[in-house]
Structures are given as structure tokens and as C-alpha cells.
């Protein structure tokens, strides 16, 4: 018990005194997850919009697969990206293994299904007359989609924020492809794992507090967005 409370006090001290290593790790975590979320959003929102817009054979199956991938185990993603970027893998020549870029790739794969699925759901949640209206006004597909995505913006943004939450809290994949190398690829989650196994609870608790704070902010963000989304629908 004493160990925990001592650890807690020390953790707060580490945060308040802006311990450089903690700042570095938190900064890297934010960088990797923000970058991964942005890249994923850039790919997944248009992809989700296209899946919503066009009727094609197997559309339902595609959506089911995407939804199944919400629960994609992070270690599987880690393994996949490891095989891709390891020195004998197809992307081996790019020397990505144990870099932040490899971690970003892993997180992009991890969170893209979430953004695709929620984009489809957000757009499907709009009145179908809205799509008809853009069509009847003679919009080309991309203009119609821009209009519709803008209408579903709160639903889609909350998906992006959720995706960021999943990315930053993830540990398995970034550990495998990043390697948890100090000053290079160590993030909040991998550092907590390491410090806990080494018995450095103060450091773990300090990092945990930061991670929780970020999670809290993410959650608040989602709530605010969903509130706006609800308001738009009520009008």
C-alpha cells in the first residue's frame, strides 16, 4: 500500500516538475497517434463515403467485415506490420522496423475500420431524401458526397476522435513494430508496460495519469460532438 501511495506522490511530482523524459514520451505518443488518426481519416472517410454512396454486390458483406475489424486484435496488426516492414519483408528496404513510422502504419491499420464503419453509419443515418436531393440537383458524385459528409460531420468527427482514443491507448502493435526503444519509439503505453515490469511504479503511475487524462479529454470530445449530432437531427 505504501509503495502505491509513495509511487502516486512521486508520480505527481514528476508531472508537476515537467520531467523531460515523461514529456518526451507523452509528446511521441501524441505525435504517433495524431499522425495515424489523420492519415487514417484521410483514407477512411472517403472510402466510407464511397461504400455508402454506391450500391454494389456484396456491399452488406463489406460493411460486416469492416465492423468485425473494429475488434481487430492489436497484436495481429503488430504481427502483420512486422512481417511487412521486417528486413526480409516486402517493405524491408525502407528500413521502417523499430521506427515511429512503422508504429504509425500499425495504428492506421488498426483504426481505419472504425472510421470507415462510422462514416458509413453516419451517412446512412441521414435522411435518404438528402441523398436524393443532391442527385436531383444534378450533383456529380464527389459534390454530392462533399455535401453529405458535411451534413454528417459530427458523427464522422466523433468517429475520428474515437479512433484517436483507440490509437493512443493501444500497446501491442506499437510494442512489436516500434520496439519500445528509449528516446526513439517509446510511448506512454509501452513505457508503462516496461516500467511496471521493472517495478518503477512512480513512472508508470505518472504516465498512466497522463494517458487517462488524454482518454478523458477524448471522451469529452466525443460527448460534445454527439450532443451536436443529436441537436442537428432534432431540428
Amino acid at each position: 500500500m505504501g509503495e502505491i501511495s509513495d509511487g502516486f506522490i512521486e508520480a505527481v511530482t514528476l508531472i508537476v516538475t515537467l520531467n523531460p523524459e515523461i514529456l518526451e514520451i507523452a509528446g511521441r505518443s501524441l505525435y504517433v497517434s495524431v499522425a495515424a488518426t489523420l492519415v487514417a481519416a484521410l483514407v477512411a472517410i472517403p472510402l466510407g463515403a464511397l461504400i455508402y454512396y454506391y450500391d454494389f454486390r456484396g456491399k452488406r458483406a463489406v460493411i460486416n467485415i469492416v465492423q468485425t475489424l473494429y475488434a481487430l486484435p492489436t497484436v495481429i496488426v503488430g504481427l502483420l506490420v512486422y512481417l511487412l516492414v521486417s528486413y526480409s519483408g516486402p517493405l524491408g528496404s525502407l528500413n521502417l522496423l523499430y521506427t515511429t513510422n512503422a508504429m504509425i502504419i500499425a495504428q492506421v491499420i488498426l483504426v481505419s475500420p472504425l472510421i470507415i464503419g462510422f462514416t458509413v453509419a453516419g451517412l446512412t443515418g441521414l435522411d435518404k431524401e438528402m441523398k436524393y436531393t443532391t442527385l436531383a440537383l444534378n450533383a456529380r458524385a464527389y459534390r454530392a458526397l462533399l455535401t453529405l459528409v458535411r451534413e454528417a460531420k459530427f458523427a464522422i468527427l466523433s468517429a475520428v476522435v474515437l479512433a484517436f482514443g483507440r490509437a493512443i491507448a493501444e500497446v501491442g502493435a506499437v510494442m512489436m513494430v516500434g520496439g519500445n526503444i528509449r528516446h526513439f519509439t517509446r510511448t506512454l503505453t509501452t513505457a508503462i508496460t516496461l516500467n511496471t515490469s521493472m517495478g518503477d511504479f512512480a513512472m508508470s503511475i505518472a504516465l498512466g495519469i497522463i494517458l487517462l487524462t488524454i482518454a478523458l479529454i477524448v471522451n469529452l470530445g466525443v460527448n460534445v460532438l454527439q450532443h451536436y449530432n443529436g441537436r442537428v437531427k432534432d431540428e
Binding site: 436524393y132 443532391t134 436531383a136 431540428e235
Partner: protein, 355 residues
């Protein structure tokens, strides 16, 4: 009236084996107002979306503005048409931005877009709303904004899918006036879906009755409302007195009531008939019917006020429903009371009974 602006041949639509629209043909003339009336679920909306080219048909072909609708021509054709939906669609933007949408899809220069939006809002008396959030408006105002958004693109054919179904009577009147004005001022061809047969009668040059996915009758308002081709259509267009009867000694008879002489329209040697008589075409009196009307006496079964009218059920061999203006009679018809009802022979519509 001039050439056909829209022709469809064998147009049909199925959703996973369910036939929503069965193969049908239709021609619409330039400048015409055609009302498609029919019960909910008849396939009117699906047909309209196909004609507006925003929903591909399962089979059949269309020719619009003299050009067959194909993958290559569809955008060009659709750009000259417009459609308004039953459910008001307003985007989360200002009124002016909503109205501008179709013009920006057409890549019109910003200055021209602004001028046209301002002009249409002025024309429709909506200028004061221009900078308001579109979703802050009432239902009637919102539907007028949607209408403005279509009209600003200057459609030559306008599809209106139950445009007033969600509106109050006052808003309905305003929108109907706008529809008629658009037709008169710009010679816009208008095709309107409505389940409200009276609205069809108020607006349209021609009425098409759609049931179970296809047209069962197309004709003038007079033809459809006074000479329906079947009992089912008759019921839908509000004919309350429909009797089965037969021909006897040159007279059309049902339950000992002689309705009229056998009309010349009844070709051949028809024995069994359906007799149709609009409730408002029947006169009602406590003292007797005079003049050249057929009349028969009966007993009041019930009577009920319906707005400014009184609906009276009379048993005179057949069970008649009679509608009379309430203020004019001022009378109360008590159940059991003996009355006279009468009608002119020419308002009786007789068709062969094929059932």
C-alpha cells in the same frame, strides 16, 4: 399543348424480387400538369424517382426532351429537371446557401448564383429569411425554401412527390399557388404525386390513377372522378355510392331502385353492372323531389356533420350516402325519419360488372 416532353415505355422497378412498379407507359406534354394519384405504397414515389433519373429502372426505357435516357445523356437531361420531395430536406446552412446548392453543383459563377438566389427568394416572398439558418424555419417555410432551391435551377420538368403531405392547410394552399404560378409563368411541365385526390383535381390538367404499381386509368379530372373504370378506382376517388345491379327492360336497376336508362356507353349485351353515384350529386328532401330527377323515398339511418356538410345515410332499398351543405338545409335528419332522395340520370355512372 404541343409535343411530348417525356415518354416512358415499359418502365418497371423491382427490389429483391418485389415488383414495386409494374411495366407502364406514359407520355407527358410540354407545359402540362399531370397528377399521379393513388394510395400510399402504390409505387408513385419510385416511379417519380425513375422519371427524374435519380433511380435506375429495372427495365423499360425513357425519352426526355426528345433524347433517350442513357448513361451518357443522363446528367444533361437531369440538369434540366427538378424534384421536390415529401420530406422537407434542408441542409445545415443558411437559407440562401440552401437555395444556391443546385447552382453551385452546376459551377455557375458566384455573382450569377447570388443574383439568381436573391431573385427567386424575392419572387417567392422569402427574402427576409435569406441569412437565417434553414433549419430554424417552420415546416411550410422550409418546404417553400426547398421549392425555391429547385426553381432557381429553372427546371423544364418539375417532379413533385407529395409536396404538401406534411403541411398544414394554409401552407398547402400557398405552395399550390406557387406550383400553378410556376406552370403559368414559365410553362414548366409539372408531374405531381399526391394521395389527396382533391389536390389532383385542383392542380392537374390530367390525372393518372396508380394502384399496385401500375396505372389503372389516365384521363381528365372529369373522366377519373365521374367515370372511373372500376369499383376500386371509384372508391379511391371518393365515390361513396357503388352498387352492383343489373339491366332490366332497358333500365339499370339495383334492389328494386331504378337508377337510369341503360346508357349508350354500355356496349353489347351487358347484364350485370356496377352503378356509381357521387354522394354530393344526390338531392335530399323531406317533402319530395320535383323536376326531371329520378327519386325514391327512404328512411334516414344516421346523419353526421363533416365540416360545413352533413352526411346522411338513407335506406331506400339500397343504402345511399348523401352529402348536403349543412347551412343550406339547416335541417336535422333524425334516424327513422322518412325522406326523399333524387338524382339526374346523367350523373349515374354505369360500368359492366366484371367481378
Amino acid at each position: 399543348m404541343s409535343e411530348d416532353i417525356l415518354t416512358v415505355r415499359g418502365l418497371a422497378k423491382s427490389y429483391s424480387k418485389k415488383e414495386v412498379v409494374r411495366p407502364l407507359d406514359l407520355s407527358v406534354k410540354k407545359g402540362e400538369i399531370l397528377a399521379i394519384i393513388g394510395p400510399s405504397g402504390a409505387g408513385k414515389s419510385t416511379l417519380m424517382r425513375m422519371m427524374d433519373t435519380i433511380e435506375p429502372p429495372s427495365q423499360g426505357e425513357m425519352c426526355i426532351f426528345g433524347e433517350p435516357v442513357t448513361k451518357h445523356s443522363v446528367h444533361r437531361i437531369r440538369g434540366r429537371m427538378g424534384m421536390l420531395f415529401q420530406k422537407t430536406v434542408l441542409f445545415d446552412r443558411t437559407v440562401a446557401e440552401n437555395v444556391e446548392l443546385g447552382l453551385s453543383y452546376r459551377h455557375l459563377p458566384k455573382i450569377e448564383r447570388g443574383e439568381r438566389v436573391a431573385a427567386i427568394l424575392e419572387h417567392m416572398g422569402l427574402s427576409r429569411f435569406a441569412e437565417r439558418g434553414a433549419r430554424t424555419l417552420s415546416g411550410g417555410e422550409g418546404q417553400r425554401i426547398s421549392f425555391a432551391r429547385v426553381l432557381v435551377t429553372r427546371p423544364e420538368i418539375l417532379f413533385l412527390d407529395e409536396p404538401t403531405a406534411n403541411l398544414d392547410p394554409v401552407s398547402t394552399r400557398i405552395l399550390e399557388e406557387m406550383i400553378i404560378r410556376e406552370n403559368r409563368e414559365n410553362k414548366t411541365t409539372i408531374i405531381i404525386n399526391t394521395h389527396d385526390q382533391a389536390q389532383g383535381q385542383r392542380l392537374a390538367d390530367r390525372i393518372a390513377v396508380m394502384m399496385d404499381g401500375t396505372f389503372v386509368q389516365i384521363g381528365s379530372a372529369d373522366e377519373v372522378f365521374y367515370h372511373p373504370i372500376s369499383g376500386k378506382v371509384a372508391k379511391f376517388v371518393g365515390i361513396q355510392n357503388i352498387f352492383t345491379g343489373h339491366v332490366r327492360d332497358g333500365e339499370v336497376v339495383s334492389s328494386q331502385v331504378s337508377f337510369c336508362q341503360v346508357p349508350v356507353s354500355l356496349a353489347g349485351n351487358v347484364q350485370n353492372v356496377q352503378i356509381m353515384l357521387r354522394a354530393e350529386d344526390i338531392a335530399l328532401s323531406k317533402t319530395g323531389i320535383t323536376g326531371d330527377r329520378r327519386s325514391v323515398s327512404g328512411v334516414v339511418i344516421s346523419s353526421a356533420r363533416s365540416g360545413a356538410f352533413l352526411e346522411v345515410s338513407v335506406n331506400a332499398g339500397c343504402l345511399f350516402t348523401v352529402i348536403v351543405p349543412f347551412r343550406q338545409t339547416g335541417d336535422v335528419y333524425a334516424p327513422g325519419e322518412r325522406v326523399w332522395i333524387g338524382w339526374r340520370s346523367d350523373v349515374v355512372h354505369v360500368i359492366p360488372d366484371t367481378s
